[in-house]
């Protein structure tokens, strides 16, 4: 199994767990499985038209998947994906 690391503000939707096990051959499939298991996560990760929100960063190990193959980035057994919030705002 691969794991997805959940940041503090989203753990309320994963029963307090900081890591969730997933299968799935690509990052997109792994995230899809995550929100299927924990549907309340969906609106915080995806926009209404199904795209990852721009301030949601997904890393495989230490690398942002945007600089790998995006949602098509392969996810192997024992890989760790991390959801990392960009914290932003303004007036």
């Amino acid at each position: 199994m691969a794991t997805v690391r959940i940041p503090t503000p989203l753990r309320q939707y994963t029963a307090g767990n900081s890591e969730v096990d997933v299968t799935g051959g690509t990052a997109g499939e792994a995230l899809g499985q995550l929100v299927e298991t924990h549907p309340d996560l969906k609106q915080h990760l995806y926009t209404g038209d199904g795209k990852l929100r721009s301030f949601v960063n997904v890393y495989k190990g230490d690398e942002d998947i945007r600089y790998l193959e995006g949602q098509d980035t392969s996810v192997e057994e024992n890989d760790e994906l991390s959801i990392i919030p960009s914290i932003a705002g303004g007036c």
């Binding site: 940041p7 503090t8 503000p9 989203l10 309320q12 609106q43 915080h44 301030f55 960063n57 890393y59 942002d64 991390s82 990392i84 919030p85 960009s86 914290i87 932003a88 705002g89 303004g90 007036c91």
Partner: protein, 142 residues
Amino acid sequence: MSSLPLKVGGGDMEHIHAHAKETYPEECSGVMVGMNTGEMKVVVDVWRAENTHGDERSRRFLIDPKEYIAFEKRADERDMEILGVYHSHPDHPAEPSEYDRDHAWPGWSYVITSVSGDDINATRSWLLKPDRSGYDEEDLVG
């Protein structure tokens, strides 16, 4: 469900205000760490973050994901959690903007300080509604 009050002690609040004045007219930001006692969210420390927004830092802030990871690790090591984020609104009210709402995370306290030069106009705390439709104001206690 009504939100829990956020307790920010005098020293930590001074730190937030000093940060807001130092970076004026640009926005400052940082995280608040501590624990949720079930009755109150108690801030134990505030950690400054660098505003890495590429431009428009007088009306935008951005904390680098790598800095966020370091904050989360540091909080875990101290058995604390990140309770929320503070930032300043230079010459704007201490109320969340539409841009803030788009970028907010659920469950976190968002403390906003309105600053004009050396004057702190107001400091208020906000919590994103679970459906992301708006904010509820939180009680901010010292």
